[in-house]
Amino acid sequence: METVKVIINGKEVEAPKGKLLLEVCFDAGFPIPNFCYYKDLPPQAACRMCLVRIEKMGRLQTACTMRVSEGMVVTTESEEIRRARMAMVDFILANHPLDCPVCDKGGECELQWMAMNYGDLLARFDEQKDATGEYPLSPFIWLDPQRCILCYRCIRVCDEWVENHALGVRGRGAHSVIVGNRPDGTLACEHCGNCVEVCPVGALTSTNFRFRARPWDIRDTVTTCTYCSDGCQLRLSVRDGRVVRAWAKDLTKMDAEFANKVLFSFRTAPETRHNWINEEFLCLKGRYGNEFVNSPDRLRVPLLRRNGRLEPATWEEALKYVAQRILEIKRTYGPESIACIGSPRLTNEDLYVLAKFGRQVLETPHVTHAMDVDWRPFFKRLTVPLLTQPELREQMPTILLIGGNPPEYNPLTAYSLRAAVHRHGARLYIVSARPIGRLQVATRFFHIRPGSEPAVWLALLDEGEVERAAEATLLTREELYELRRFVWEADRLALLVGREVTGPALEAAAVLGGMLQAKGERIVRVLPLLRFNNSLGALDMGLVAEMLVPEQVGPQIKALYLMGCDLVRFYGDAWRQALARAELVVAHELFLTRTAELAHVVLPAMSFAELDGTFTNNAGQVQRIRRALGVAGDWRPDWMIIDQIAAKMGADLGCRHSAANIFREIAETIPGYQGITYARLNEEGAIQTERPLMPLEVIDRARLLERLRAQVEAIDHTAERLQEPAPLGIGLFEPGTLTEHVPLLRQAFGWDVRESVEVSR
């Protein structure tokens, strides 16, 4: 990279040519106050806070738009500049309501900070202010236009991070107001709340957080999101034992001192560091989907079925009952009559203990978890390492996405794809049966026949199959050759695999990387778009047996040990009868789900906000979840419940009373997890597991091609391309076991949530 020498306040500094002066100054230790500047967003030159003097230039220049060039001589501190900054603060505060005492932002407001540091002692504005009220833009977001300083961060974030283009400005001059995209000025968007987060002041606020806490009442805990497999980091803010918000803003980026002031309540070293895989991004669920933990519907005590009704019981009663029944069933029907099914939402620690319990204590082969797509063949044949989000954003000039709908199901991946295009002009090719509304940044879009994804992989693997693939996909031969060139000629390639890719095609997706790397010097990484926050962890922890079909229950399976998985909801009503046929159903749950209702024993578990543990995201990165809440019910971690049952059965699972101890064992026994510790996770944030890769020679590629061909032959060749993109919110706005207990989401989307069944207390 070409560098240039510039002189800043008399100090000679070397910097990459063309870098923004504001960033160069920041790095050189001369932070420049700013509002409208935001890292990686297009420069605005709007707030004029960043004015500096550059020699040989007539007027003060905005450091946020100026790019450094050789020999530039810059002054960032002088009387003239001090006065200019003071003037800007003066102007901004002129019509500002200054209602800091009742403003949600007070205490972590960038304007307060700037006013204290750069403003005048006295405000000189002595005219009538033009007052405006505050009003909601959406069920999630409120706007107070008078507090707005028009930095346009919200608009740009909506354009660039989430591609909703839902915000704009209405009116001119001092009457300019931020508005939403509906004719009446409200918002029709995906409600990610990122606009609220980047707002430097209290102009945009979130409905769930408004008037609920001041920053100094809050304790923040850095943890991992409990929704999709991308694995965003977030801070859970807790006040008086209740989660009041989730946020991800990187305050250190603005000013280390400011960051420390705002984050004073949790100034522990590893957690203030913001090297998060999601930078500052969160989606609707990650941001607004956490308040299920506060829900009054949470199960608070164990329930035991007596005379056909679930009734409260003590832990001792419940655990004893379970241990006893399991032993009886095992004795009567044999170990294979018991099945353990976990949930891909639980921690590695919980799932590991469940698997160990199933194998070592119950001695059953039926240890598995609820999967939406069977990814096992993929991980079995993985030939290249998994792709992390930072790699996707920064290091991959060529990106191919086949299938999937990242904006809806893997929102962080969608953000990273956009960032790759915006930041370094990555070429993004998308192959999909439906247009993807919010990935318009794509360089090329290949519109295929629904269900024909396998044919694309076939063509990518084998040039001789282009003809067949063209027929199946409705793409032209030229288009398929273009895709082949894109993949085979790339130096650094990211392959993203959506959940439409199944069976042999999924194996092909795992193998292609290895084939490409064998062909020549190049780097290929692959990202499987798994569904749940710990889908990969569940596979890693060994819950990999074939999932049961409901018909097995009764004749073959007599006892079901369910950990956090609502089979009825997940797999359908056929499971109701299946559960009725079982002699024993044990369910660890947060809520009385459709499945738990039918159980014999329901054990109240802890949520991710009450637990310590780890999740493994779709890039194979292990990240911590941390206990953010105290105890509000008589609930226990899943692993502890199992440990106690095992103890009652006379077995020792070796949990030694802590998740950290369990994780130590995971690191010793699970391939890829070696060397990872909680201490390192605290220090480094995310640590990627080193997955065993399959050598290409071992794979019978001829056989794979054959199976893939058969899969392609089976494609319905009469199906037409889907012209309409999937509707906004198809994934994001869908009610789930957790989200339907979040009042804000329930109200916003009008979910008609099933009344919970009356439980006698």
Partner: protein, 438 residues
Amino acid sequence: MEKVRVLSARFDLPDSHTIEVYLRTGGYQALRKALAEMTPEAVIEEVKRSALRGRGGAGFSTGMKWSFVPKDSSKPKYVIANADESEPGTCKDRVLMEKDPHAVIEGILLAAYAVQAHLAFIYIRGEYWYLKERLEYAIEEARAHGFVGANILGSGFSCDIIVHPGAGAYICGEETALMESLEGKRGYPRIKPPFPAVVGLYGCPTVINNVETLASVPPIILNGGDWFRRLGTEKSGGTRLFAVSGHVARPGVYELPMGYSMKRMIEEDCGGIRGGKRLKAVIPGGSSAPILTAEEVEQCTLDFESLLALKSMLGSGAIIVMDEDTDIAQVVYRITKFYEHESCGWCVPCREGTRWMRKLLERLLRGEGRPKDVDLLYELARNIFGTTHCPLGDAAAWAVYPAIEKFRADFEKYVRAAAVSVSAEPSDVPGARRLLVV
């Protein structure tokens, strides 16, 4: 100084807007000449030699501007005629387009040939809807004669012209805001650099010139750059249309050579101050230029250099003349209101500063002024000046602080009036009590 009529030569002819009259009076000869005899570079050279400087406001050398357009760019190039004419006091482009639309069209075609653009736009002030029709009619006339469209006059050079109306925003006269608007977006000024000559309309190299600037080009090509330059001064070539308004006996649009005496213009051409009053002040370049006192007017000539020396500017060539009865504080208030209304709102100092100044002035003029107000107003304007994103903010400041420097008494008298009434009858004056608190 000799008063030739270059731009206004056809203004008095009946049906001057028709192509027949235009052709009869030498119209499209320059285009014919350029296409047949001159390379694009030669056209640019001729314009450079003419010392033609932009008539839109900034007065930048037109030939230089054209030469900045990259020749090797693979992108299409565009020419835009800025006909947004919204500067208070300015009404010269209107007369040009009304009386001599073909001169504007021929100028556009010459500019397009010089930079090898094949599409040109006329961005016209929305209120000039009747001129839009006139221009479109003229373009069709020109097309019928083979001057517009494909393969102009068999030269192989093609160029089309589209007229696009604005929607009532002064800021859309600023060249980059204009381009945003033309692209269908909100008219916010862009960050410069890059300049339009390199990255302009739709990200392509673009020449944007004022209507009058473009209309000056055909005579330059026809008669030579040297001829044009000699009509004016060494650095400000040619003649120019001055829109004179205010307290003169004969307001109107006058074509005068650059370097002409301002005093002479007011006294001779415009018939002096109305009603035999004395001159008090002149705003020389539309509302955006710092005000001149009567003494300054004495030494002022109508060219870029002279006004620069007086720390003002010739701007759009709109001369607002004010007699001795004029209250400069009222003038400044009116102009400030204009800028507050027209501020696009993009940047803080202009958006908030103009509102603040307007409110302060309103209070001052209401008789609720306080001793520190004039200084505060002055300082606000100084704080706006040089800190804004586009020149509109500077203009808003220029309307205020030089006026305070030169006519402070006009402002102070409101403060005194307030102070007097406070001591006499505090309860009579709204807001006066606040004064006692201060």
